[in-house]
Each structure stands twice: as structure tokens, then as C-alpha cells.
Symmetry: C2
Subunit: 378 residues, 2 copies
């Protein structure tokens, strides 16, 4: 490591130095939307590309400099997670700064631009700002939030804004909706086009119980992947309590937020979708706009914990300005999500739904965010 | 990858699921400051830990679950970059969210807390905010800035602040001073202790020429590691021009910055230190406070490009409120930096210097930042 480091540190020298080995450019998007991936590994025996736009890993070939490469596609314009499998070991792309924040795996991001800019692309429009914040959280711990403020927020000190609480999935972090979801760019573009209302978006970390355990003396955090009922529900509850007693009050104290249910939306992906539905349906006085991306609650849990939703559909429909449920047709949660939709239908609960191609991916999350943001606070 | 992904996606399901293999906790800091690192790789033949607190990679051993681990130390409290070498392949720690933003290598960060909190540690003090901003940059491109605003910035809409422009090293990104340098926490703690003045800190990306090349049609960016004189100086110049014509005007338009030389500081590490010295000594009307961390300019370049600094030391000393030069005794730039100090001495140019243990590392960068921030704008 020190050797590697010294070499890398040499790059820092402000005077003349020869290059330290070939420069690897990866990924390289070509004019025809094919993409070339490269990885420097002179001594590796086999290197494969694993990308979410490929059904299976793709073999790469080594050149005389020890750079493995492969050109794939044309690839449908979007942002895709990928990594390399180097003699069976999964690694990020060292040449690519764009990464997927996650607690359990590391992946890089390949951004294939459209011929006309996609809704998540950097465009020449006014930009909002992303703020990293600390807030006083459960049991004296400090929590982290990533907060989007819309263009002009700092220039209009009297204006107040509605707030969208947006929760990522299991093993994601509070950064994932920013770094992978491009939440800020999607909103910048929709607001510039007059399609979405200027809003504040608060992106919390979903696994409060684990963070509390970690800060309380470095004890082993709860396994976020363990899904036995009791633990899952207690951890979902820990998140809901932190959201209501810490995150929302911090937001409404420190940002110019409109503090009423009609100006609060909540949405989430995967586990965050479950947390969204539980927090919203269990606190109808707090949220009027609800978005579940690739997630659902089972009819059993609905009847057990949220029976009033279906028992008094008129009241539910009056209170909820939006109940959104979307899922991909290849999502392993497709069946459960359709059951949830059928449950709502049978109970005469009004909801909007969208079923897209694709699976349980952030390509779909971006699509759902772009579809729902224009519906909020209208 | 799809297989891996489906498994990972399963973590997202909001209903009961069995865990997908053992939970790996890494790094785990033990009470005696030893640190246990773990990596799941049942089929790997050899796994080593490479950490900046170790002189050489340390062999790890595999348990029955296929988890490789090693306990090292006690380790001196600090934040250290590390990675694993899995059958010779360098990988980040999949279990650790803390990462080292860099263009050429990927590393994780191990944070060993002190018995009393270190200056870069999260403490129970008022926190400033980190803002990610886009700004109009050279040739119609869009640049990125990471900006620290001090505690209370949003609560005192009339107050204006001095600005510290802080530049990271070659292959670092605009995120490195935040994620690795803990600039925000260091300032939060120094301000709370009354040791540093509240200030705005603007952290730009150092390789403007490469970013422009990249945005101008995905052409191959300039190799940041090529250090042949002409290219190096033209790229240093491109940064200086962007700083003066784009970054500073954007900052002073969009933040409550005091816009005069006595309220502008500039500092940087490694390549950023060279950029700092060139931008400051070449624009004495713009900056009054100058910090070079682990970098220098050669006597030859000083005489050629900045002769007035040594030719009129009284004027130089009157204009510069601070000229700081620091380096580690094991830094491969130690000799050049001492030559630079000797040059300044011989020319009767007043400067403050600090020579520490250690090398060209971010452990030293944090130390230099904590030493210099209290000197600025006083």
C-alpha cells in the first residue's frame, strides 16, 4: 500500500514527473452509444465486466500494456451500476469517480447520455443545492441528512417551500438518492420546465437502529439484511419515530419549510417504500402525499396495522392527495406489489400506479421520481 | 452481477427475508485501539490488509464462513486510508461506507477515535453545512464545488464571512477535503473552541483542463499524471484562470463573502499546494493568506515567474498576512520544500513553517489544516 501510495502521491508533486504507467480511461461512451470499459491488471488471469445493462458478466481482453477492455452496446441511455470481476473478485472501476454509496457492496456508475438530455442529466438550467447536514437523533446520537434546496432558495429569504422526505433502500445510505438517483438534477430540470413545484427534498439514512447501535460504543450494528418479523418491524418503527420526532422538526426549524400535512410528501424505494407506507398510513395527520417505489405492504399487515385505511376509504381518499405505487414487471417484488394494488382497489382506496419494464433497479427509481415529483403539492 | 444484484436487492424487500450470508463488520475498532478488519471471500487464496498505518501489507486469515480477518495495532488515533489485496487485486472494504474520493485509486477509511475527541472528530458542537454546488466554468462547461458554511450561517442573513479557497491534490476530487480531510468537522470544532474565525471554505476540483476536455465531447482527458513542464504549467494556469474568473465571482455572488484580499485565503495540498503558491504569488492583489501543505515551488520557478516576491521582500511581507509552508519529514517532497523554505529565508521573505513526522498523507493534511485555520483572518 505504501508503495502504491508513494507512486500515487508522486502525482501530487508540483514539478515535472514522468507518468506512472498508462492512463486508463473508463468508462468511455462512444458516439454510437457503445461503451468501452477498461481496467489495468497486467497479472490478472480473467477480467469480466458486470453491468446492470448486461444479462451476464462479459469477458474483457488484455492488451500489451496489461489493460483489459471490452466495448459493449449500443446501450440504452441511462445511468447503470457496474463493476469488474478480476479473477473472481468484484472491484469498482478505479478510473471512474462516480460511485454507488452502499453499506454492503461497492459499484461504479456508467452514465450513457441521451441524444437529447435525459431528465436526470446535467442541463443548462438554474441549479439547486445539495446540503449535507447533521441533526440530533435518537438516544443522543447524531444523524446525517442530505437535503436538496431548489434554485433560488438562498435568493428568496422570505419564501417557504413544501418538503418531500425521500428514503432509499436497504444497505443504501443517505447519499444514494443524490449520487445514484440524481434527485437534484431531476428536480432542477423539472422545475426549469415548469413541471414540478420548487420543493425541499430531505434524504435521511434508513437504518436508524444500526446507526444508534454503532454510535453507542462501537457495538456490532443490527444486521440490516435480517428480516425476521419482530426485528424488521422494530427497526421500521425506530426509523418512523426518528423521522417524526427528529428529522421533521430539524428540517422545519432549519429550513424554510411549510409545516403542515398538505405540504409534506414522503416517498421511498424498496425498504424505504415500506418505511414510507408505514410512516404515512400510520400518521395520516402528518403526510398528504405518499410515493412507494418498488415496494408494498402485505394485505395481512394492512389489515393488522392499517385497517382504517380500507375501512374508511372516503376518509382515506379525502386525506391522501396522492397515493402512488409503482414497480417494474421484472421486479421480484412485482407480485407482492400487484397484490397491494389489488387490495387498495378492493377497498376502494384511490391510488395512482405505474408498471414499467425492468426490475428492482435505480434506473426505475429515477423514472418513478421523475413521474411523481410533478404530481406533488399541485 | 445480476445474480449479485438480485441478492442485494432482496435486502430491500420490506417483508421477512433470511439473511444473505454472514454480516461482515469492518473495520471494528476495539477498546484497546486495536482494529479488526474483515473481508468475505470464501474462494480467495490470499487476502492482505494494506493500511497507511502499516509499513507493509498484513496477511489475513480465513474462518469457517469464508470471512478473512486480521486484528492490528494498537493504532494511533487518526483516519487512515486502507484497502484489501485479494489474490493481488486491490479492493475497497465492501462493509465500510467511508471512502477516499480519488480519480485513480479506490480506498476505504478507518477512523480510530481518540480517548478525548480529536480535532477532526464529530463532537457535540454547533455544525456548519457542506454544500455541493455547480458553477459556470471555462468554455461553457459546468464545474463542481464543495462549500463549507460555518454554524449559524443561515441564521444570520446579514453577516458576511471571509473565504478560504482550499485545493486538494492530484487525482483527488472536490470531495476529498470533505470526505478525507473532515474540513467541516475540523472547522466546527475550532470555531466552537473560539480558536478559528467563522469562515466559508470553498473546495474546488483541481484538474480543470481535464474536466473541460471531458465535457467537450467525451474526449480523452489530459493525463493528470503527466508532468512535462509545458503541459503542467498550462494546466496549472487553466486552474488559476478558472479560480479567478469563475470560482471566486460565483462564490462572492452566491455566498455572503467579504470580497477583498484581506478576507481571501488560499491553501492546498500537494499539486493543490503548487496551484496555491502560483495563484497567490502571481496575484498578490487577490489573496493575503497563503497555505502550502506538503508542496513547494522550485527556486528556478520562483526566480523565473515570481521574482518580485524575493526582490521586494518588504512589500511581500507587508502584503502577505500569512505565508505557511509545512511538510512531513518522511515526505518525498521534504527536500524540495526545505529548499523552498531556504529560498524564502535567503530572500528575507517572512513565512511560518511546520515540519512534522510522517509523509505525504492526509493524516498530515488534517494536522496542517487544524494548525493554519486558527491563523486565518486574525
Amino acid at each position: 500500500m505504501l508503495a502504491v501510495w508513494s507512486v500515487l502521491c508522486l502525482f501530487g508533486i508540483a514539478t515535472a514527473q514522468p507518468p506512472r504507467g498508462p492512463l486508463v480511461v473508463s468508462p468511455q461512451v462512444n458516439a454510437d452509444k457503445t461503451v468501452t470499459f477498461r481496467y489495468l491488471a497486467p497479472s490478472a488471469k480473467e477480467v469480466k465486466l458486470s453491468a446492470q445493462f448486461e444479462k451476464a458478466p462479459v469477458l474483457m481482453t488484455k492488451d500489451g500494456q496489461g489493460i483489459w477492455s471490452v466495448t459493449v452496446g449500443p446501450v440504452k441511455p441511462d445511468i447503470y451500476p457496474y463493476s469488474f470481476q478480476v479473477d473472481g473478485v468484484t472491484v469498482m472501476d478505479p478510473a471512474n469517480v462516480a460511485f454507488f454509496p452502499n453499506e454492503r457492496f461497492k459499484a461504479s456508475l456508467a452514465d450513457i447520455p441521451g441524444d437529447t438530455p435525459l431528465v436526470h442529466a446535467m442541463q443548462d438550467v438554474p441549479h439547486g443545492s445539495i446540503n449535507y447536514e447533521y441533526y440530533p437523533s435518537a438516544e443522543g446520537t447524531t444523524g446525517s441528512l442530505v437535503v436538496y434546496t431548489p434554485p433560488g432558495y438562498d435568493k428568496s429569504p422570505a419564501k417557504k417551500y413544501p418538503v418531500f422526505y425521500l428514503i432509499s433502500g436497504t444497505t443504501d445510505t443517505e447519499e444514494t438518492f443524490f449520487k445514484v438517483g440524481h434527485t437534484n438534477l431531476i428536480l432542477d430540470n423539472l422545475i426549469a420546465a415548469g413541471k414540478a413545484k420548487p420543493m425541499i427534498i430531505v434524504m435521511p439514512y434508513g437504518n436508524i437502529a444500526a446507526r444508534v447501535a454503532e454510535q453507542k460504543g462501537g457495538t456490532k450494528p443490527a444486521d440490516p439484511t435480517v428480516r425476521d418479523g419482530a426485528d424488521a418491524i422494530s427497526r421500521a418503527k425506530a426509523f418512523e419515530i426518528d423521522l417524526l420526532t427528529n428529522v421533521i422538526p430539524y428540517t422545519e426549524k432549519n429550513y424554510r419549510a411549510i409545516a403542515n400535512r398538505e405540504s409534506r410528501a414522503i416517498g421511498g424505494f424498496s425498504r424505504g417504500g415500506g418505511q414510507t407506507l408505514r410512516a404515512a398510513l400510520g400518521n395520516m395527520d402528518k403526510f398528504a402525499w405518499v410515493c412507494s417505489y418498488s415496494s408494498y405492504l402485505s394485505p395481512t399487515e394492512m389489515d393488522k396495522s392499517f385497517s382504517q385505511i380500507g375501512a374508511k376509504p372516503e376518509a382515506t381518499n379525502k386525506q391522501l392527495k396522492l397515493l402512488w405505487v409503482s414497480v417494474g414487471s421484472d421486479d421480484f417484488l412485482y407480485k407482492g406489489t400487484v397484490e397491494f394494488m389489488d387490495y387498495l382497489k378492493a377497498k376502494n382506496v384511490t391510488f395512482k400506479s405505474l408498471i414499467t419494464d425492468g426490475g428492482h433497479t435505480w434506473m426505475n427509481v429515477k423514472k418513478y421520481l421523475a413521474e411523481t415529483a410533478p404530481l406533488l403539492f399541485q
